[in-house]
Amino acid sequence: MFDNGSAPATMGKGKLSFERVVLTLVMLAVAAGMFVPFIWMVLSSFKPYQEILSLKPTLWPQGFTVGNYTTLTSELPFLRYFLNSAGVSSVVTLVILFTSSLCGYVFAKFDFAYKELFFMTIISSMMVPFAVVVLPLYFLIARLGMLDSYLGLVIPFMVNAFGIFLMRQFMEGVPGDLVDAGRVDGAGEMWIYWRIMLPLSLNALSALGVFVFLWSWNSLWWPFMIISKSELRTLPLGIATLAWEYATRVDLVITGATIGVVPILILFALMTRTIVRGVALTGMK
């Protein structure tokens, strides 16, 4: 999917027709509509307050300054927010990849009593919207004493039903002979999982990993519910806080949003195809 090689043959090579020009213009307009707001945002983060507030908005910064960044980071620990997000999202991703692949292996390559019943139990949880469990989960985490903690941000998201579903689907495609050969040779199940199943599932793992990481990195609702200490905020929560507490300081707000967006866009530029595939494959956002 999305390989350059699989593109349609409908478009002739180097044929410059009127139609081609129109199509290109429309495509460029669409691309600009999607991307110009980001360019405007990044450029605005380098404008002084008065310039942003001028009634005739400029695109290119007239009075170029990095003052917004220094002011912002002295008001709120944005680097800390960034690291919090990176840490929490990485841990959540690794844990979900581990639990999904291990359960996927079990459901794909073992026969045991009530297998389908267990599988359906887990899968049916995909139907439960977060809005339904968010309040009970909040009180559960409160009772466990995990409000305002990294653990509270991670613990409700350690197993992912969709991940298990995806890994089972994928691992069912791994030839059973490979597993059997390992077993005949006396390899333990963990060895087979680690040395055979995982290396053969890298495609599915990377797609799932991309999806989980982005979803965790972008999530606001749960951190918003359980985090009140400033130093534990994630990046989205930091940006939201900025929008509430510094509502009139639009220069700072725009700069905060830029910090939240640019790293993820750079990552996206570096691995466009993997990320697009990950989000499309998992089909949820």
Partner: protein, 314 residues
Amino acid sequence: MATIEDSHGSQTRDRIGNGLLSRLRIPRNAFPWLVLTPVLIYYFVFLIYPILYAIWVSLHLWIIEDPSASQFVLFRNYSDLLLPTSRFLDAFRNTLVYVFVRTVALVPLGLLTALLLYQFRRTQRFYLFCVFAPIVCPSAAIAVLWKWLYHPRFGPINAQLAEIGVPRQGFITVADQALYSVVAVDIWQHIGFGAVIFLAGLMSIPEQLLEAARIDGANRWQLFWRITLPLLSHTTLFVTVITLIGSFQVFDLILVMTSGGPGYATYVLSYLIYNEGILRTDMGAASAISLVMFVIIMIFTVIQFRLLRPRWEY
């Protein structure tokens, strides 16, 4: 993968070696249970228990400070949702409008964008990047960005409108525009999602099929309506249902852009759940709303399960 290629007997045994993984001897029959027991316990604690708890709470006049003193009232929390003092009907109507507009816009826009992307080969990756970029960004940042683009006085959109002689608009600051202004941002952010799935669907249509129809004298309009679209019907249904389910769950954009306001103009169910449960600490009402929402979403999810994994290839 050398270990697998030459997996006859002793050679592999040598490679299995004596590492931690091979010393960890788990009997085969026990392995599934060893893996699944903690997972199932986890599921019970962090998913099933919260749902049961929500059902239980929704049947009570819940007192947060002293749950044991809560009074059992059966369905009163549910029937109270229909009282004029409750914001449920407002939020419900707003949610329906939001879901309807978002779905009706996103499905055709996704398809159109996919058809456009399909025309490009060498530059497709670049366009894909632009179209998909808003999706990978945090909604909190998108909300903040658009809040400013929409600004009634200083926002660039109003500046552009002024240029062409249109009076300044209030957008998210006035009640009759707020909901549509938020849903417009949501649509803008998520066009790429449908586009990518439709694009995958388009690419899986065999070229010979289109070629054959072309030879038979079909024009492009006919090709699209008679061949491409019918072949994409499954994909279309899939995108529609996924979009519907996603639309019900909007929270981040509302929270950051409007906090439900102005007035109650952008209260949606998820925001009402938060508002009733946390700000007003009326857990009974909040749980009842959650469960109503659960039932609605479940209906669509069942449909989605029927369609799960359309025939687009990975």
